[in-house]
């Protein structure tokens, strides 16, 4: 049996901010998109603020209503990735098999590490303590035999929780939970499930698999397997290739200047490129998303020669921005993505575009360095 940990940082952004301003630990505080603007949103609230009912995605205005004394902090994203790198360095003390799920969350396969470091629970508590003592950050850990169950286990006790849930425990621990608590189930799916009388994860597990497959397609069998505690996906291996890859960013302040928007796209295009290259995919369509201050979002897209290069994605993004920019309409969110993915031809050919091959080499090298030394340790000059 495998032993998988999911380590999730608690209130990560605001905890990072508290490292710089320790006074934030003792008062209700949150990281929010430009706190001076009423339209900014709460990115992460600390646990004191959460007691007042402040939650992520709430607008600053709403948060101030429920918790007038809340201290709002502007996001300093460079700090978060630095902290994140240090956290993952701690993970690496226990296993090389790590999958970063996001900036503040990662799976660790510790199956081969138990002889060296002790039981999965021992390892989990060592990680939790080291993160706390060395970095002053909090995390929760889920322990199980696969990625899905470890994620579900981790969610059960926050902050500073360590929860063990193996397959044998799911009937007691997992099945009573409502469907919307299930990892991978969003609003739309849970509504559909409720409509057919499925209320808990146990209901899904005991449902007829054929029924679920007919209703939800392949997602139906995914739900059935996960609800029964089955997940064969490996840590660190992306088994499912993306149909599209996109990244978006809610801006700290509404934006009317196209040059600022272009700057925001640089990072996003790079993230899209990194992911596409890691999966060996190329996209034939570049799409940008703009959400206006009135919360209406539009997407605009254009065809490109199949690519996964940051430069090419960004170039198409710039063109789309220029064609569609309206300086009278402030935007609050911007995103860019690659769609119409094609597998990259694995066999190198003499007819490959040599400039592209060179560019690919550069970007792959950058990717490798960024994996080794931490995200954004190497950047393009334009992005400084």
């Amino acid at each position: 049996m495998k032993h998988i940990l999911l380590v999730d940082m608690n209130a990560f952004f605001i905890m990072c901010e508290s490292l710089l301003r320790p006074e934030l630990r003792d008062i209700p505080a949150a990281v929010a998109g430009d706190p001076l603007k009423r339209t900014g949103i709460i990115l992460t609230a600390n646990y004191i603020a959460r007691k007042y009912g402040v939650y992520t995605t709430m607008t600053v205005n709403q948060a101030k209503n429920v918790c007038p004394s809340i201290e709002l902090v502007k996001p300093s994203s460079g700090l978060y990735s630095k902290c994140s790198n240090q956290v993952f360095d701690i993970f690496r003390r226990y296993t090389p098999t790590i999958e970063q799920a996001s900036i503040d969350e990662g799976w660790l396969d510790i199956t081969e590490s138990t002889d060296l470091f002790g039981s999965p629970f021992d390892i989990a508590s060592r990680i939790q303590n080291e993160v706390k003592d060395e970095l002053g950050l909090w995390c929760s850990v889920g322990i199980s035999e696969n990625k899905f169950l470890s994620k579900m286990a981790c969610e059960m006790k926050k902050p500073l929780g360590i929860t063990t849930m193996y397959q044998k425990d799911i009937e007691k621990m997992l099945w009573p939970l409502p469907v919307n608590k299930m990892y991978g189930v969003g609003k739309a799916t849970s509504k559909q499930l409720l409509n057919v009388g499925i209320h808990t994860i146990g209901d899904i597990a005991n449902c007829d698999k054929v029924f679920l497959t007919e209703k939800f397609g392949s997602f139906g069998s995914y739900l059935y397997e996960r609800a029964n505690g089955i997940d064969h996906s490996l840590v660190g291996v992306h088994q499912v290739k993306s149909k599209s890859i996109s990244k978006e960013h809610t801006l700290a302040a509404d934006m009317t200047d196209i040059n600022q928007a272009k700057k925001a796209l640089i990072n996003l295009a790079q993230e899209v490129g990194v992911k596409a290259r890691a999966e060996g995919l190329k996209g034939e369509t570049v799409q940008i998303t703009m959400k206006y201050s009135n919360f209406i979002s539009v997407t605009r897209q254009k065809k490109v020669h199949a690519t996964n290069l940051d430069k090419e994605i960004l170039k198409a993004g710039y063109e789309l921005l220029e064609e569609n920019w309206d300086s009278k309409k402030p935007i609050r969110l911007i995103g860019i993505g690659l769609h119409n993915m094609t597998g990259q031809k694995a066999q190198v050919s003499f007819f490959d575009n040599h400039i592209e091959v060179k560019e690919e080499k550069i970007e792959k090298t950058m990717d490798t360095l960024n994996i080794k030394y931490g995200k954004k340790s190497l950047k393009r000059g334009s992005n400084l």
């Binding site: 890691a278 060996g280 990259q344 694995a346 066999q347 190198v348 050919s349 003499f350 091959v357 080499k361």
Partner: protein, 366 residues
């Protein structure tokens, strides 16, 4: 027409000529072999409009004349005759009678008038070399011609001459075979692209002996003259790739390895690779060993081959077929492999000779 010849001679002539006959054509005459008995020569011809083969058979002519016989039946009949003397006669209405020993066969022949003429080639432009040498050259190059009709010129081999040597090159987009032969006295001049299909036939007709073959070429055709047999083929038109530019300027890693050891390792790694999945074979090269391995649904093969290395360690993957094709065609015991990064061209060549080299492009791995 009435002729006599030995089964053995006729069979060889028919089976050679047949290679230039199309199996299916709108013109019945193109599915046939033309037999001409004239001026004391019995000549068999096949011509599929791309390539023509002309074979002179030893025999006796009692009455001159000519006729076309459908190749499919004629060749089978001759092949199945017992050894001995064959008599072929034909009347004015092209009814053909073939006799051998106790067999007596009538075949309906065709009027030879519609049979396409085999074009002539300027006999002055000539290169002469040993049949065995040309045979080896073709064998070492022809396997990497392209089968993709999108770039017709690459479905052929480039034949080029420089002072005192000739070159043959084929490129299919992912690999290149290069062969050079020193032939004293040869001048710079020829640059032609010969269809791969025709070259395969040329190689079949070439003997492993000291006899010579002479090559005559024009703008549109090339003729291979083997003495009693001639093959003429259309040349492929269009500019061939600048193959010299394919070689990398510098290499990051160079290894020396025993050809057979590496071929055997690749062969075994290929055992668990199915055609449809096209999984690459991976090579991990450090100072002393090349680890050759493959992992598929069927299992995992790992081979360790001793090497000597200069430059960086490298991890690289290839289509196993490409590696094996190259290694199979190298007779030298030891080879040098030069790598230019994990997605750059890789050059395989014998250690003590510049007479041939293979350039293979790797497969990307993630």
């Amino acid at each position: 027409m009435k002729i006599f010849c030995m089964k053995k001679d006729l069979n060889e002539a028919v089976s050679s000529t047949q290679r230039a006959v199309s199996n299916k054509s709108i013109l019945a005459v193109l599915e046939g072999i033309l037999i001409t008995a004239k001026d004391n020569k019995i000549i068999l011809r096949g011509n599929d409009m791309e390539m023509g083969i002309e074979y002179t058979v030893a025999g006796v002519i009692e009455e001159e004349g000519s006729v076309v016989l459908t190749s499919r039946y004629f060749s089978e009949i001759v092949r199945k005759f017992p050894d001995g003397n064959i008599e072929i006669s034909c009347d004015d209405s092209y009814k053909v009678n073939i006799r051998c020993s106790n067999s007596n066969i009538d075949l309906i022949g065709l009027n030879p008038q519609g049979f396409p003429e085999i074009p002539s080639v300027n006999e002055n432009n000539a290169i002469t070399l040993k049949q065995e040498i040309l045979r080896n050259m073709i064998r070492q190059v022809v396997f990497s011609v392209s089968i993709d009709e999108k770039m017709p010129v690459l479905t052929g081999c480039l034949l080029e001459s420089a002072d005192n040597c000739i070159y043959m090159v084929s490129i299919d987009g992912y690999r290149m075979s290069f062969r050079k032969e020193y032939i004293l006295g040869i001048k710079e001049g020829v640059t032609v692209v010969i269809p791969g299909k025709a070259l395969n036939e040329v190689a079949r007709l070439l003997k492993e002996d000291d006899k010579e073959v002479s090559i005559h070429y024009g703008k549109n055709q090339i003729l291979f003259d083997f003495g009693n047999c001639k093959l003429i083929t259309k040349l492929l038109q269009g500019d061939y790739l600048n193959y010299k530019s394919i070689y990398p300027d510098s290499y990051e890693t160079e290894i020396e390895v025993e050809t057979k050891a590496l071929l055997d390792a690749a062969d075994r790694a290929n055992l668990i690779i199915t055609e449809d999945k096209r999984t690459p074979v991976k090579f991990e090269i450090d100072d002393k060993y090349a680890k050759v391995y493959s992992v598929t649904d069927i299992g995992r093969v790992e081979e360790t081959v001793k090497i000597s290395k200069e430059g960086k360690d490298i991890s690289i993957a290839f289509n196993p077929k490409f590696i094996m094709d190259a290694l199979k065609n190298i007779e030298d015991e030891k080879i040098k492999i030069s790598f230019s990064g994990s997605i750059g061209p890789c050059v395989i060549s014998p250690i003590n000779s510049d007479e041939f080299s293979y350039v293979i492009l790797p497969v990307r791995t993630n």
